[in-house]
Amino acid sequence: VIELLAITQDAGAPPPPLRVVPAGPVSVVVGPVPEGEVDAEALWAREALLEDLMEERSLLPIRFGTRVEDDAAAAEAVAPRGEELVAALERVRGAVELSVRAVDRGGADAAAVDDVHARLAAHAREYARHDGPEALRSAYLVDRAAIDGFVAAVRELQHEHPGLSILCTGPWPPYSFTEPR
């Protein structure tokens, strides 16, 4: 059994123990199923593999826990969606995902939250705003060259809106921008 980690169009060999399996117009990055418990350390180890890969190629992360019997099964599962995945890779090429949560610390109104979102979205190629317990929970797809401007905007917005606590993490692989719009 192997684990499927990411879709890419770059067939170059990744660092071991990862391998690429051709699947129609794309390739699948696969690796051994990790041993041991699924704890925070294991999750970060997986994330580190993807982030290293992301340095040198555009990729689409695959949903955590996706496993198949062998290379043939991996190719069989992915190849039929090849064209769709090529388009999805094009969508995220050269960009990373940044996560933003804004927590109401008392006194923040909806206008403040909308201001934060709108001004961050202006730095992004796309965004995905989700419902959650926080006042704002969003993911932004940001060109690598625009990351610094985005982070500067987060700082500025935090300063302007002391009623909100703005939490920004990333850059992440584009987990929230893999499905067709």
């Binding site: 994330e47 689409l60 955590f64 995902e97 996560s99 300063h159 992440w172 987990y175 893999t178």
Partner: protein, 62 residues
Amino acid sequence: MSPSSAIAARDVALVDLVDRLLGGGVEIAGDITLAVAGVDLVHVSLRALVSSVETARPKGEE
């Protein structure tokens, strides 16, 4: 960053990671996706952790 806010930042990043691992990424045909036991529980406990981190942080900290 003070040591306590560094810890908070790492916890927030872990919650963001878990959200993405469980809710994001390309879904490949369902019948080959094996559920990873225990991850949902990890998720729930992390959520509780982050809300306690957020409420524990004093207001007007910046």
